[in-house]
């Protein structure tokens, strides 16, 4: 079935180091992928997205990599800061009978150690 999952439920990173959060997806028809950040008590916040015709996209301190061959998505955060502590989850989107169905992953908790 369609499933979006994450390899690591919790990731601890030293402040200043780079963080890599991974996501596996199973629907090869998905053509749009989004990373969200969710802080405690808040709603998910859009970080960065990538469409299936690309394999890399960069934002401010963040990079998303897409490997369609192995159906893998990753989020890289450069120079991780305490404010980056949150739950990060990926979402995949693809056409499902005329509707762009979105499937969300469970999330990875990123803990930044000062």
């Amino acid at each position: 079935g369609e499933n979006v999952g994450l390899h690591l439920p919790t990731l601890s990173v030293q402040e200043g180091d780079n963080s890599i959060i991974n996501c596996a997806y199973s629907n090869s028809a998905s053509d749009y992928f989004i990373w969200y950040k969710q802080e405690s008590g808040k709603g998910p916040q859009f970080i960065i997205d990538i469409r299936s015709n690309m394999d890399k996209r960069q934002g401010q301190r963040v990079t998303v990599l897409l490997n369609k061959t192995v159906k893998h998505l990753s989020l890289q955060i450069a120079a991780t800061q305490p404010g980056d502590s949150a739950v990060y989850f990926c979402a995949e989107m693809g056409d499902s009978g005329g509707y762009q169905k979105v499937t969300f992953g469970i999330g990875t908790k990123l803990q930044v150690i000062p």
Partner: protein, 112 residues
Amino acid sequence: NAGVTQTPKFRILKIGQSMTLQCAQDMNHNYMYWYRQDPGMGLKLIYYSVGAGITDKGEVPNGYNVSRSTTEDFPLRLELAAPSQTSVYFCASSLGGGQPQHFGDGTRLSIL
């Protein structure tokens, strides 16, 4: 812009009571969505709407109803609250189907 606004932020209901979760967006987005988020699980789609007057069921619609009389508002109705509906509910909106969704800060609902 306030973005997506949800009210109330917290609510405790007794079994069998009813309530409406409010959601409003000021971004003139056509698409709106209701999700529930349970511990250890990804967001699950309850209902969605692609425009005023149009609503469709998502993955977990049982026990809920929605309406979309205006572009801005998308209320979610619980008619007979059950303990299984204890969850955090998120409303979201997007400009179109293949666009990122913008979320509110959620309503934390407990059914006792």
